[in-house]
Structures are given as C-alpha cells and as structure tokens.
C-alpha cells in the first residue's frame, strides 16, 4: 500500500532527513531515544502532527525513537503549548521526574512564546523556557512532521 514511487521534493527530503536522523541517533545514543510528550495547554494542533510521526509514512520508531508513557523513562521532553498557568506546576514536576541527562524541545510557536495566546493572563508570557530550560525550539503553527524530524536531527547532531 505504501510502496510508492518517490516523486515530490518533499518525499526525497523525507528520505534525506530519515538517513541523517538514523546516523545521528545511532552515533549519539546507540539505538534509542525515549520521548515523553507533554501538552502544556496547546490547542492540540501540535499533538496531531506529533502523532503523525508515528504513522507509516514517517514511522519514527524505525530509528529507535519512541514515545514513552512516563517521564521517568524519557531522555527528552517534547513540550507543546504556551504553558498555561494551570499547567505550569505539572510541567515543572514532569521535568523534575525526568532523569539526567535530559533534553527539552519546545514544539510550536506557542511553546516558543510567540503564539496567538501570548498576551493572555492565563499563560506564561515566555512559553516553555519560563518554567524549564529549553534545548531546542521547533517553530510552526503547528510544525509539520518534516519540521519535527529536522528539529530532532539538529538536536542529536549538536
């Protein structure tokens, strides 16, 4: 069903990205990177695109990257949303539960502190970095799966 000819530029970019990601991942971590996704009050647009990383097109698990259920199993926190004040404590606690060494990637414009909710009384004005230290920002509203892959490679190659 998915054995399809690579025609568009987008597809060839996906292949290039996949190869780079695989190389970087292997070199740095052997075969695994465990991600805990934390929604800190997003509109759920970013979640939809993070979900797409698991679909048979992107299939991020083939590189040894997987989403885990607990921060205690995670190497990386993938945080979305502007960080609502109601979620700030939960985000901080999740960070504290994640073993060191750990990374934080802020996903989407909101998480970077420049989304449409920025001015609100109910959100942190600077996004995720107001609560926990951020290693990488992936911009977009929401960022596409390709953007997310590109971001993860950047982090791993650093």
């Amino acid at each position: 069903m998915l054995t399809e000819k690579i025609e568009s530029e987008k597809e060839s970019e996906l292949i290039k990205l996949s190869e780079a990601l695989q190389g970087a991942c292997r070199k740095k971590l052997g075969r695994s990177l465990a991600i805990r996704e934390v929604d800190a009050g997003s509109c759920n647009g970013c979640e939809l695109e993070i979900h797409a990383l698991n679909n048979p097109f992107y299939d991020i698990e083939r590189f040894g990257i997987r989403f885990v259920a607990s921060p205690r199993h995670a190497d990386l926190l993938l945080v979305t949303g502007p960080v609502t004040k109601n979620m700030s404590e939960a985000l901080k606690r999740t960070y504290d539960c994640t073993p060191i060494p750990k990374w934080v990637v802020a996903v989407g414009d909101c998480a970077a502190g420049c989304g449409v909710f920025k001015q609100s009384y109910a959100v942190m004005s600077g996004g995720v970095s107001d609560i926990v230290p951020v290693d990488l920002w992936i911009y977009g509203c929401p960022p596409s799966p390709i953007d997310l892959l590109r971001g993860l490679i950047l982090l791993l190659e650093r």
Binding site: M1, L2, E37, V38, D39, A40, G41, S42, C43, N44, G45, C46, E47, L48, E49, I50, H51, A52, N54, N55, P56, F57, F67, A69, S70, P71, G81, P82, T84, K85, N86, M87, S88, E89, A90, T94, G115, V116, F117, Q119, S120, Y121, A122, V123, C141, P142, S144
Partner: protein, 508 residues
C-alpha cells in the same frame, strides 16, 4: 459486503448553482428573573434543549434549542446585582457552565448546588479576569466528591497523561476492579481565549478562532466567519460558500480516521490504526498541497476564503476520494470480522438515549445513542441546503456504535465532497469588507466532526466586544463520567477515545 462505487463525474465544467443566503436561525429575548426561572423549568421538562450559557460583565445569556422548529432562542438577563438564578438546579448540563461564569465574571448563580471553581485553579494571580478583577485568594485543595464505603480506593490520573494527548485530570474511585465513580477535573488548558477575543480586531479574532481546538480548526473558523458575516452584514461569494463545506468535510474525515484507528489500537488491534493513519496523512498532504496548510488552519475567514481549489486539485481530490472509499470497505470488513476487537467495543461504555437527550449530546456521541440532531440538517446552512446526505443514527450507544457512526459519516462526507466538486460554482473566493466599522450581533452553529459548535459574537464599530464559542464537549464530558461507571479501568481508554472530547475547546 457491498462495494461502494464512485459515481462517474462529468469531465465538463460544473454547472453554476447559486449559493443560498444563510437564514437567520435565532431571535433575542430580554427577560426578567421570573421568566428566566420559568424558561429553565421548560428546559427541564423537555420543551427546549440547553444549547449554551455564558456570561458578560453585566448580563448572562442562555441559548435554547427547539429541535422540531430548527429555531434558537437567545435569552438575555441583566445582572445589576451580580447574581442570576441558577439554571443547573433544573438542568444538570448547566452546572459546569455556571461555575465557569463565576470563575470568569464573578457572577453568582443563585441556589446552585455546586459552587466549586472550574476553570480557575487559583494560579492566575487574579480573580474574575473578565469581570471586576480582584486579587487572588489563598489557594485551597480542590474538593472532589466524596465516595465512602468499605474497601474503596482511588486512582488519580493526569493532568499529564500517558499518551500524546491533552492534559486533564481523572479521579477514579474503585471498588475492587470496578469503577464506582469517575470525576473529571478540567481547566488545565485554559488560555484566556474569551478575554483575548475582547481585545481583538475582526482579523485578529479569526486567528484566535482557528486555534480554539486545533483538530476542529476548520469548523471553528467556519463558525466564526458565519457569525461575523451575520453581525456586520456581508455575504461571501458562492464559490467560497461551497469550498467551506468541502474543507469541513475533509476535516471530518481526517479526524474520524484518526479516532477509529486510535480506538482499535487501544483494543490491541494496530492494523486498522496503520490503515487509518495512512488515509489521514493523505488527506493532510492534499490539504497542504492545495490549500497551503495541513490542517487548513486560517483558510476560512470572514468574507470567504484565503485560498481557492485549482483544477489540478479537483482532479486529485476525485482520486483521493476513490482511494478512501475502497480502503474504507476493507477497514469495515476488518473491524466487523475480528472477534477480539468486537469483544472490547460491543456493549462497552453505553450511553443511554435519555442521558444523551437530557444533556443535548452533539455529534456522533448523540447520534450513536439515538439523538437525531445534526446542525447541517437542522439549520441547513448553505451549501448544505443544496446537498443531499444522510445523518447516520444508531441506538446502542456503546463504543461500537460510536465507531460505526464515524465509519458511516466518512462515507457521507465522501459523497458530500463529490457533490461539491461536481457543482462547484465559479468566481472568486473572497469578498471585501465594505464597511468595517459597523456594529451588530451574530450567532452561528456549525457541525464540527465532534458535534455542534455554537459561536456568539457582538461587534461594536468594527471591534469585538464579546465572543463566546461553545464547544460540543461541554455537554459530552459529563456523559463520559457516566458511561464508565460499572466498567473496569481498562475500558476507560476505549470510552475516552470513542468520545474524544476536546480539552482545549472546552477549557478555552
């Protein structure tokens, strides 16, 4: 199983069909306190369905639906003393809405049985952000309902959940393996959206509306556009009217595929998840290629659309529809023929018809429990008044019925898109707003994939002074608490996914 065939479409250019103007479906009534109480009693007796309830600094509004007449009654009550008679005493679905009105505006629902905060978790550094702002009070622990009995224990879940989903808290009280009570605590994604609207321009409001709930971004932009257009008296070009519905149906299909896959995956059947995920991705890629955004965010604006569908896009969409229908046949076959899957979904999480009606449960949740309501049919906003489709209805009310409604809705959406493609009018897709400084009120109801979205807007001299979007989830979340009672915890993911209520759309 009968294979669905795509009817042959004409290769010639489409015939032009004039899009009808949207009929005003509501009327406003300013009432006294006594009439307000009388009306809440009428809702309790079943004459009306509670469709919305919101506050403003000096008044409260309630929207009542008369399904048989396709009419909405907007009720307005002045609150000079900062109080209004509680509707929740008579109508339980009003309870959370009233708690929200208090949290945001400080208006007190007199006589209410539940005075606990709802969206305000004591973290905003202020109280009543949209009313008379007061300094915060000392933070108290949230009082969950007490369940007492021998050997009962509690399981707290969230707000950070185990999957890639939105945050919320569920408190399970268990008697051995059986759920005795489940109580939700939401509000974690509260972003202060209603206040942001208050300070926004019409264009700025469209950006916020598109981000109320990311999975229903088309439906929210659609509702916002219709409400603004009604308030300031503009009509979008016919081509835009038709393409809006096309986008809404594509969004419906994409989300239903996502959810059907996720439900089956939670029942340990990932094969259907993979197939559904592929189709969902293909729809998103099409949207990116021809509408410029994978979720079609911000494409529908007051006055029309910011994009147009090219001829190439049209041809590609016919092909995509064909593929979707063929694949759907095999998904149906798989879903229906696997005992291990049916074991988990049939008879699980039953929502009875009475509760669905009482709460006015919208979308596939209501329609899987015998509530025959679909905003596209009831209000027949253009172009749905010119399109023929069915709104599937089942009685069983279990997870299986909700899955089936979604499968049938995908089929109907594919027929709708085909009709739209066959009859798409020509012309441009965006009208210019002639008089941007006008004032008025507008109300729109749009059927999102999840159910009916209500959006109320008041505009004064081109500026938004009040905008209240009401997500279908408001009336669906409380029912999830109900269906899980008596089940085992392992059934909760299935119930939750089959409901798939919005956190962001609810918390605002």
């Amino acid at each position: 199983m009968k294979k669905l065939e795509l009817s042959p479409h004409s290769t010639e250019e489409a015939v032009e069909i004039e899009a009808g103007k949207r009929k005003k479906c509501w009327s406003l009534e300013k009432v006294s306190k006594e009439r307000w109480i009388e009306l809440s009693k009428e809702v309790a007796s079943g004459k009306w369905t509670l469709f919305g309830l919101w506050g403003s600094p000096r008044k409260v509004n309630m929207v009542l639906l008369d399904e048989s007449q396709s009419k909405l009654q907007v009720i307005e009550l002045e609150t000079p003393l900062g109080k209004f008679p509680s509707v929740a005493i008579e109508v339980p679905s009003a309870a959370r809405l009233e708690r929200t009105i208090y949290d945001l505006f400080g208006l007190i629902p007199e006589g209410s049985f539940d005075n606990r905060p709802w969206l305000d978790h004591g973290k905003w550094q202020l109280r009543f952000p949209l009313g008379n702002i007061l300094p915060p009070e000392e933070q108290k622990p949230y009082p969950f309902f007490l369940s007492e009995g021998e050997n009962l224990h509690q399981i707290p879940v969230g707000p950070v959940h185990a999957g890639i989903i939105e945050p919320g808290h569920f408190r399970f009280t268990m008697g051995g393996e059986i759920v005795v009570r489940m109580e939700e605590r939401l509000g974690y994604t509260h972003k202060g959206i209603e206040k942001l609207f208050f300070e926004a321009s019409i264009e700025g409001g469209a950006e916020i509306a598109a981000r109320i709930s990311g999975d229903a971004t088309v439906a929210y932009s659609y509702a916002y556009a219709l409400a603004v257009e009604e308030a300031i008296g503009i009509t979008p070009p016919p081509r835009a009217v038709w393409l809006r519905a096309l986008m809404a149906e594509m969004e419906r299909m994409a989300n239903h595929f996502g959810d059907i896959g996720a439900i089956c995956n939670d029942a340990a059947f990932p094969r259907i998840l993979s197939r559904c995920a592929v189709l969902r991705e293909k729809i998103l890629r099409f949207s990116k290629d021809f509408f410029g955004h994978r979720l079609m965010m911000g494409r529908i604006v007051p006055g029309g659309l910011t994009v147009d569908l090219s001829k190439e896009g049209k041809e590609k969409l016919y092909l995509l529809l064909k593929e979707i229908r063929e694949e759907l046949c095999s998904i149906k076959y798989f879903y229906d023929s696997k005992n291990s899957l049916q074991d988990r979904t049939v008879g699980t999480g039953i929502l009875n018809a009475r509760s669905a009606k009482l709460f006015g449960a919208g979308g596939f949740i209501g329609r899987a429990s015998g509530r025959n309501f679909d905003a596209r049919k009831c209000f027949a906003y253009p172009p749905y008044d010119k399109l023929s489709f069915e709104s599937p209805l089942l009685e069983a009310g279990d997870v299986n019925a909700r899955v089936w409604i979604r499968i049938l809705e995908i089929e109907q959406s594919s027929f709708l898109i085909e009709q739209i493609l066959n009859n798409l009018p020509f012309g441009n897709t965006l009208s210019v707003m002639k008089e941007p400084k006008v004032s008025g009120q507008g109300l729109a109801v749009v059927e999102s994939f999840r159910g009916d979205i209500l959006l109320w807007i008041e505009i004064e001299k081109g500026k938004i002074i009040r905008c209240h979007p009401r997500d279908p989830s408001w009336f669906q979340w409380p029912l999830l608490e109900k269906v899980i009672v008596g089940a085992i915890v392992a059934d909760f993911p299935l119930c939750n996914k089959s409901f798939n209520c919005s956190y962001s759309g609810h918390d605002l």
